[in-house]
Assembly symmetry: C2
C-alpha cells in the first residue's frame, strides 16, 4: 500500500474530526449557529481532493528523493493537506457568490442552500440577500478554520516558517488571481484583442495553475524540507500541469457534460468568462461574427440553442483545437521537468498519474 | 511619554510598510492588480484603532504588573496590534457588503468605490455586481494579510502558540457572531418577544464585546505571558466594556449625528438591526404600535420623517433610558474588575481612559 492510497481517508477523517470539534465549540454560542456549522460541514465534503493529493505527493517526492521511507504519512502532513481542502472550500463558497452560480458538485451552491432554508423556516426579509450574506460569512469562517488546521499541523514542526511562507504566497496569489479574473470580465474591452490570450494565461496562472498544483506541491515539499533544486523541479512540473488543468477546465466550462461536471452545460458562456478559448475564438473571427460572440457572452439568460451556436463557433474557429494543442504541450513540458530530478521514483510515478488525471478529466 | 502614545504612529507606520511591500509583490502579477491594492491600502487607513489600543494596553498591563518596564513597545506587539487592524478592515469590507452600506467613515464603502471605478473606466457588465465581487475578494485578501502580519509578529516568540490560540478564538467568535446578527434580522419572528433582549445581548457579546475589547486585551496579554489571574481580570473588565461599547454603538446607530458618525442618521433602523434598544422598545409597546414599528424596521427607503417618528417612539417607550442605564451598569462593573488585579497601575489608568472613551463616544 502506497502512502497516497491512505491519504484521502486520512484527510476526510481529519476534516470530520476538526469540523465536529468546531461544531461543539460553536454550540456554546447558541443553537442558532447550527445552520452555519452544517453549511460549513457540507462545504468541506466531497470534491477531488486534488490539492491535498498534490501536497502529499510533493511531500513524498522529497522524502523518498532524500532516501527516506515515505511509508507513512505524518499527522502534520495530513493536517496541512486537510487545511488546503478547507481553504479551497472557502474559495468555492465565495466564488459561487461572485459567479452567481446556482450549483456546485451537482448540489445547490452554499448561498442558494442558505437562501432556501430562509424560505423553509418562514424567516422574514429578502431570502436571496440572506443567502449571500450568510455565505460571505461562511467563507470567512472556513478561511479562519483553514488557518487553524494549518497551525495544528505546524505545531512543533521545525520547518514551520517555510511552510507558512509558501501557504501565505498561495493565499495571496489565488485571491489576486480571482480578482484579475473578475476584473477581466469587465475590463477586457479596454485591452487590445491581441493581448487577450496573454492576459487569459496570466489569470489562469495565478488563480489556478499556481494555486491548484504548484503551490500545494511546494507546501508539501517545504514540509519535507525540500532543497532548492527539488523545489525547482516541482515548480517546473507543477506550473504547466496547472495550466493544462485550467485549460481543461475552460474546455469543460463550454463543452462539458452537465451530468459529469455537476454544473449547467455552457456555464462559462453565461458567466462571460474571458478564457484562452474565448481569446483564440475572437482572434480567429472577422469583425461581424466576433461582435455577435461578444453580444452573447456573459448573458445569463442564454438558451440551449444559443449555447450550441456558441459551441459551434468556438469549435469551427479552430480555437478548441488550439487549446487542446496547448494542453498537450503543457503536459509534455511537465513530463520533461521530472526527468532526472532528485525526487523519489514512486512519487514521480504518482505525480505523472495525478497530472494525467488532471488534464484528461471530464468533470 | 507612555508607550501608548507611541502606539498609533507605530501601528500606522507598520501598516504602511506592510501594504507597500504587498503592493510591490502584487505588481509582479500585473498592473491590473493596482485597483485592488489601492482599495486595500484605503481600507486599512483611519479608524479609531481601538483593537490595537486594547491589545497594547493588555500587553503593558501584564508587563508592568509583573514589575517589568513597559517603556518601549516591542516590534512583535506592534505587528500583532497592526494585524488586528487589518483583520478589522477585512471584517468591515465584508460587513458593508452584507449590510448594503453605502458609506464607511464618511467615504464610499469599498464595494461602492469599486463600483464607481467600473463606471469611470468604461468597463462592461454590471458595475454593482463587479463592486460586490471585487469587495468579497478584497476582504479575503485583507484576511490573508492579517494572518501574514500576525505571523511576522510571532516569529521567534516563545508564547506564539498561546497568542495564536487567542487570535483564532477571536476570528471564530466574530464571524459566528456576525452570522447570528444577520440571521436574527430574518429569524427573530420565530422567537418569543420576551427572549429578544437576551438574544440581542448574546449577539453583541460575540460580534462585538469579545471581538473588539476582551480578545484584543487577551491577545496583548498572551504576548506578555499573562497568568490565569491576570487574564481573568482583563476578561472581567473587557467583556462589560465591550458590551457597553456595543450598546453605545446601537444608540448611535439610531440617534447618532451623521456628521460625527460618518454614516446616515438612523442607519440601523433602515437595516432592521435587532438590537437591545429595539427589543426593549418592542417589549414596552402595546400590540398596535409594536406592529407599526415592525413594519417600518428594515425598510431601506425610510425617509427623514419616518426615522424621526421611530426615534421618538424608541425614546418615549423608555427603551433609550433602559439602554443608557445598562451602559452605566456595565461601565461600573468593568471598573470594579480592575480593583486589586495584578496589573500595572499606569496601564490600569489607561484601560479606564479607553473604557470611558469607548462608552461615551459620539462617533
Amino acid at each position: 500500500m502506497t502512502p497516497q492510497s491512505t491519504l484521502i481517508p486520512a484527510v476526510s477523517q481529519r476534516l470530520n474530526r476538526f469540523v465536529q470539534g468546531q461544531h461543539s465549540q460553536a454550540m456554546e454560542l447558541g443553537s442558532e449557529t447550527e445552520l452555519l456549522l452544517d453549511a460549513a460541514a457540507h462545504a468541506v465534503e466531497g470534491g477531488k481532493r486534488l490539492r491535498a493529493r498534490f501536497c502529499a505527493t510533493g511531500w513524498s517526492a522529497v522524502v523518498e528523493g532524500n532516501g527516506g521511507p515515505a511509508r507513512e504519512l505524518p499527522s502534520s502532513l495530513v493536517d496541512v493537506a486537510a487545511s488546503l481542502e478547507i481553504f479551497h472550500a472557502a474559495a468555492l463558497v465565495h466564488d459561487d457568490i461572485i459567479d452567481n452560480s446556482d450549483t456546485r458538485r451537482g448540489r445547490p451552491a452554499a448561498h442558494r442552500a442558505l437562501q432556501e432554508t430562509h424560505g423553509e423556516r418562514g424567516w422574514v426579509g429578502d431570502a436571496d440577500q440572506f443567502g449571500r450574506s450568510a455565505a460571505v460569512l461562511l467563507g470567512d469562517l472556513l478561511l479562519a478554520w483553514s488557518d487553524d488546521l494549518l497551525e495544528d499541523g505546524l505545531d512543533d514542526v521545525p520547518v514551520a516558517r517555510a511552510v507558512r511562507r509558501q501557504y501565505a504566497q498561495m493565499r495571496r496569489d489565488v485571491t489576486i488571481g480571482q480578482y484579475l479574473d473578475v476584473a477581466e470580465e469587465a475590463a477586457h474591452v479596454t485591452a487590445p484583442d491581441d493581448e487577450h490570450p496573454e492576459r487569459a494565461i496570466r489569470i489562469a496562472t495565478f488563480k489556478s495553475a499556481r494555486y491548484s498544483v504548484e503551490q500545494p506541491l511546494l507546501i508539501g515539499a517545504s514540509l519535507a524540507g525540500a532543497s532548492e533544486t527539488q523545489r525547482d523541479a516541482l515548480s517546473r512540473f507543477g506550473l504547466p500541469v496547472g495550466l493544462a488543468f485550467q485549460l481543461r477546465d475552460d474546455v469543460l466550462g463550454v463543452f462539458g457534460d452537465s451530468v459529469e461536471t455537476g454544473k449547467p452545460s455552457g456555464d462559462d458562456l453565461r458567466e462571460g468568462k474571458r478564457t484562452l478559448l474565448i481569446a483564440y475564438t475572437r482572434q480567429a473571427l472577422p469583425t461581424g461574427p466576433r461582435r455577435a460572440v461578444d453580444e452573447l457572452l456573459g448573458d445569463p439568460s442564454l438558451d440551449a440553442g444559443q449555447i450550441e451556436a456558441l459551441q459551434n463557433t468556438i469549435r469551427s474557429s479552430g480555437a478548441l483545437n488550439r487549446v487542446e494543442a496547448d494542453i498537450a504541450r503543457y503536459a509534455h513540458e511537465a513530463d520533461r521537468a521530472l526527468s532526472g530530478a532528485a525526487l523519489g521514483n514512486t512519487a514521480v510515478g504518482e505525480l505523472r498519474d495525478l497530472a494525467r488525471a488532471a488534464v484528461t478529466r471530464t468533470a
